[in-house]
């Protein structure tokens, strides 16, 4: 059933400071609303709780991509379209571009934001696996100040995360990983169609291969656990491994089966997801080997 519009208040403060002050003054009252590509879907379905919403769309303090010699910082309101169009992200962080392309179509990519994708905390979202694989750092901001935390571990359970009352995601920082330095990027989304499909399994793996040895192995998955998954067993199985080792694919696949806690739902089955995740772990090993 469609929502009853008068039961929703929305304010749009002109500055971040005013938005944070309002959240501090009335804790728990205001729900942030960015590009609306998740919340407005719930609204139309009558599943968005009535109450007060704080529109942060357009706040300049949360917008834009900053590039330095070694890192890229995405403001929370950076849209998927902006990620796709950034030359540095294309070159050094290509899985963020892949994830952005996988999220809805053009009109969604013009409104959906990286901060919204993080704070919406869907286990099926396309960008969190890439942020796990790139070992992103989050900066969170409230009226009391900012703090920085690792993206890996930020989500603690289904729709649960380490975001305190009065806090907003301010930005996401990732180190640049140029292919010339041996970085391998492996992103694969398995869904029903090439476009406009939510994932059955999403996989993002990144590692640096130098002299045939894999280092800094980081792997994130979507849709195989209650939240974005850090594939810790698989990472450990690959860290320091010689990529030419013929047994490596099988060990990675076995470790991945231990990492996932998939379920049956409307999009897939636990058995299929677990098998596909294991196959993707083996495919990641082959990608590392091509590089090595």
């Amino acid at each position: 059933m469609r929502a009853n519009v008068p039961q929703y208040d929305v304010v749009a403060p002109p500055t971040l400071a005013e938005a944070l002050a309002l959240m501090a003054r009335e804790p728990g009252v205001w729900t942030p609303l960015a590009g609306g590509t998740d919340l407005m879907v719930l609204f139309e379905a009558g599943k968005l709780p009535p109450g007060r919403y704080l529109s942060i769309w357009g706040l300049p303090e949360l917008a834009g991509i900053q590039v330095t010699a070694d890192a890229v910082t995405l403001g929370a309101l950076t849209t998927y379209g902006e990620i796709r169009a950034n030359a540095t992200v294309q070159a050094d962080l290509p899985m963020l571009v892949r994830a952005a392309r996988e999220t809805g179509a053009i009109a969604i990519q013009n409104r959906g934001t990286i901060g919204g994708n993080i704070a919406n905390a869907s286990p099926a979202a396309d960008s969190p696996p890439a942020l796990v694989a790139y070992d992103a750092a989050l900066t969170l901001i409230s009226a009391a100040g900012t703090r920085t935390t690792a993206f890996r571990g930020f989500h603690t359970g289904y729709k649960r995360m380490d975001l305190r009352p009065g806090e907003l995601v301010q930005s996401v920082r990732v180190l640049r990983r140029p292919a010339a330095d041996g970085w391998v990027h492996f992103y694969k989304k398995v869904g029903t169609r090439a476009f406009q499909a939510i994932s059955k399994v999403g996989f993002a793996g990144c590692a640096q291969v130098v002299d045939g040895v894999a280092r800094e192995v980081r792997i994130g998955l979507a849709s195989v656990a209650p939240t974005v998954l850090v594939a810790a067993h698989t990472e450990a199985a690959l860290e320091g491994a010689r990529v030419a080792d013929p047994g490596l694919e099988a060990r990675a696949a076995q470790a991945m089966v231990r990492d996932v806690t998939a379920i049956d739902d409307i999009r897939s089955t636990a058995r299929y997801r677990s098998q596909v995740a294991a196959n993707l772990a083996a495919a990641f090993v082959r990608a590392l080997r091509e590089r090595g």
Partner: protein
Amino acid sequence: MAEVAFGKVAITFTVNGVERTVETYPMARLLDVLREELRLTGTKEGCGEGECGACSAFVDGKLVNTCLVPVIQARGATIETIEGLATGDELHAVQQAFIDAGGAQCGICTPGMVLATVALLREHPDPNEAQIREGLAGNLCRCTGYIKIFDSVATAARAIRAREDASGHGGGAA
């Protein structure tokens, strides 16, 4: 239990070159404001959840699904709907191409298809088939089977490039 109701607010934006002010609820969907307050019914509602693209319009130059935009976020914005595309009685090249190539059947998806095509051709004036398919991936049609729509996009791209060649300058479509 009494339900809390919040008040309306005044919101001003520019639609197809004309400044308009509406008095409405801040969470009202831009789609509903366009259709019901401003009577711009060329913008259609299909799914209401950002999948089908029938409600597409440009907001500040970006193609968006107006079903997912709370109207308060359009305050001060420049909005272009399908009604603003033609110049008087002269259809936009993309509209004409959809007629010439048979890209429209029942017509519900057509305004969104046309605007998504305009957005695509601004970025890729000479799109290949993969670019056309990706550019229109967010627009669903249940009549045509899409082939005539892809033909329409290619026809429009040729027409716009020919016109720009004839006028002796390049630049983006539309």
